[in-house]
């Protein structure tokens, strides 16, 4: 008898629990891409809370990464939203998708002051003070300052992990600058963990490190990575879009160029733009994280080993001055009550 009661009450609780989930769904179900790096995680979780508490959506986060998420959104119309789409990697198809009204660029600059490029560890500058202020073109003449572990007669340039958009760009720049002839090896760190690991290993032991990274990231803040000026002009969109970002076989003759100015967008599918309504599109359009605030959040996440969901709560409770401007005061109240 007693056991029956317990089971019954358990079923009842479960039933009520699932009902309350459905009751929230005004704007419907929204699938948001939760890409596998810290700032994207934070943005996805913040969007999740704001859309759920403020606009009554039912948000599901699904894992993603630059290329797969974009391909899926473009081809399949799902997920509905990518909070942090790095546009350089997908420039041509993105423009096409926007023209053909499959995707909408809802926010042209969700984070200010960001960029991709080549960086040095402070240890490199300490060991070779001449590096200070050197441009990339000058550094390329000195592979001997960055000895490669597997062949010390060569210099190691740490590129991008396989499969990232930037991997193709780095590989093509490697050819454009004739780095092989100059005695460099393009090292594939294999994964995000490999890339970060190679930086923290070098920074911790004070060894020189030269390679690709981007800002805003906790790694740049934590290890004080120094950006390298290019010492060469940007050689035009045509070279970049139709060659540098393409696979090697599609880019026969890459021209030397600086890195393109980074463009990050929040993109949503046109289906979600209709389904979500004007209020949500307006919120996404206003949602801009100032660079220093974002960097501060990322260092907080790294220091506390916090995931995106913890960081989102930290952000929403500490930085109301930032997100308060994104939504109407009525919605802001709802979100604050929901925290």
């Amino acid at each position: 008898m007693n056991i029956k009661k317990i089971i019954l009450s358990a079923l009842l609780v479960l039933g009520i629990g699932s009902f309350s989930g459905i009751a929230n769904a005004e704007c419907g179900k929204v699938v948001v891409a939760n890409q596998n790096w810290a700032s994207a995680e934070l943005m996805a979780e913040v969007d999740k809370i704001i859309l759920e508490k403020g606009y009554g959506c039912e948000v599901e986060l699904i894992p993603g990464a630059t290329m797969p998420t974009f391909t899926s959104m473009d081809e399949k119309g799902a997920p509905d939203m990518n909070p942090e789409q790095w546009a350089n990697a997908v420039y041509t198809p993105l423009i096409k998708a926007v023209e053909e009204k499959r995707l909408v660029i809802a926010n042209k600059a969700p984070i200010t002051g960001l960029g991709e490029g080549w960086w040095l560890t402070p240890g490199a500058i300490k060991k070779h003070p001449e590096l200070k202020g050197m441009t990339a073109m000058e550094i390329l003449k000195h592979p001997e300052w960055f000895p490669y572990a597997e062949d010390s007669s060569k210099g190691a340039f740490i590129g991008c992990p396989a499969g990232w958009g930037c991997q193709l760009a780095n590989a093509n720049l490697y050819r454009a600058f004739e780095m092989e002839k100059k005695g460099w090896v393009l090292v594939d760190p294999g994964s995000a963990a490999g890339l970060d690991g190679s930086i923290s290993k070098a920074a911790d032991s004070g060894n020189p490190w030269f390679g690709y990274y981007w800002n805003p990231t906790s790694i740049v803040g934590k290890y004080d990575l120094q950006p390298v000026p290019w010492g060469i002009d940007f050689a035009g969109r045509d070279n970049w879009d139709n060659c540098i970002t393409k696979a090697e076989q599609d880019c026969a003759d890459p021209k030397p160029t600086a890195w393109t100015k980074s463009e990050v967008n929040t993109i949503i599918t046109s289906k979600f733009a209709k389904q979500g309504g004007k209020a949500i599109v307006k919120y996404i359009g206003k949602r801009t994280y100032p660079g220093p605030v974002m960097n501060g959040m990322l260092v907080w996440m790294a220091d506390n080993q916090a995931g995106g969901s913890d960081a989102a709560i930290e952000f929403l409770s500490k930085h109301e001055d930032v997100w308060g401007k994104w939504v109407s005061s009525k919605v802001a109240k709802k979100i604050k009550a929901g925290l």
């Binding site: 396989a162 499969g163 294999g190 911790d204």
Partner: protein
């Protein structure tokens, strides 16, 4: 009632402090000893690089010939010799020769390291019940702990490259050879052992001339499993910068290149089948030999 509904959790801040403390102490450890440990593994790196260079600089027909000969020595079966030759020809024809040789190099070195470490540990385990009791749970852990978890400390200690990749592969691949060496020696017939004792054999003589020869087929099954598991780890090893067939697979996963992924995946499968059949046949032949003598 609240106690029952809510699991008593360690306080959030102290939990965070604990995690941070573990991280910090490991970071300090790796700062202090990282370079030393790296130097310790230098000979291994040297060997790996030399082997890969040798495999790549040798003209391909010679490599294929060597593989054919190895297949013949191992299995004495024409089917296997022709099969492995054709597979390697196909791998080369589809432009995977370089990656394939890098994979063969790391798998060979890894298998050698695993055998060198695994068989002595297996022998120790078979000699002492206490050693068996302590080592078995460690082996269980090595086989089940997700490889991404131990990639983090390996990365912090050794950075990216061949050696950390090799260690990651070995952690996963060494247990079978240890387990089966232990099992094989323990399973040797008691009466045979008694007979050798009656002839006055010392412990070492018993081990060398009775126990190891009789357990060889089982040990060989372990080596075979170790090779298979090492091949299965190729993709994971590529995530920390090991060149080989895993790299194009990672690229294929992130870019949805179906054909690229499939081709390289099948190349790994082909390698696995060749290694597996040759070592298995070899193991069977040893057994046959024993059967005839009986």
């Amino acid at each position: 009632m609240e106690f029952l509904n809510k699991f008593p959790v360690m306080e959030r801040t102290s939990l965070m402090e604990l995690k941070k403390g573990i991280d910090l102490s490991f970071r300090q450890f790796s700062r202090k000893y990282g370079d030393g440990i790296e130097n310790f593994f230098d000979p291994l790196l040297f060997f790996l690089i030399k082997l890969e260079k040798l495999l790549l600089s040798t003209p391909w027909p010679i490599i294929i010939l060597i593989i054919g000969i190895l297949a013949w020595i191992g299995s004495r079966s024409w089917v296997l010799v022709i099969g492995s030759t054709l597979s390697f020809l196909a791998i080369g024809y589809f432009g995977m020769w370089k990656d394939c040789m890098a994979t063969v190099a790391i798998i060979s070195v890894c298998t050698t390291v695993c055998i060198a470490i695994g068989i002595p540990i297996g022998i120790i385990m078979s000699k002492s019940n206490r050693a068996e009791k302590t080592i078995l749970p460690i082996l269980d852990m090595m086989q089940t702990i997700p490889s991404f978890v131990y990639l983090i400390p390996i990365l912090m200690l050794l950075g990216i490259g061949k050696v950390p990749g090799l260690i990651a592969v070995c952690i996963y691949a060494v247990p079978p050879v240890i387990r089966l060496t232990n099992l094989g020696i323990r399973e040797v017939d008691k009466e045979t052992l008694e007979a050798s004792e009656a002839f006055g054999a010392t412990t070492f003589q018993k081990l060398k001339s009775v126990q190891i020869p009789l357990s060889l087929p089982t040990i060989f099954a372990g080596v075979n499993q170790t090779i298979m598991m090492a091949l299965a780890m190729v993709v994971i090893a590529s995530m920390i910068g090991v060149k080989g067939l895993g790299v194009p697979i990672l690229r294929a996963i992130s870019n949805q290149y179906l054909a690229l992924g499939l081709m390289n995946g099948l190349a790994i499968v082909a390698l696995a089948i060749i290694f597996d059949r040759i070592t298995q046949e070899y193991g069977r032949r040893i057994q046959k030999h024993r059967g005839q003598k009986k």
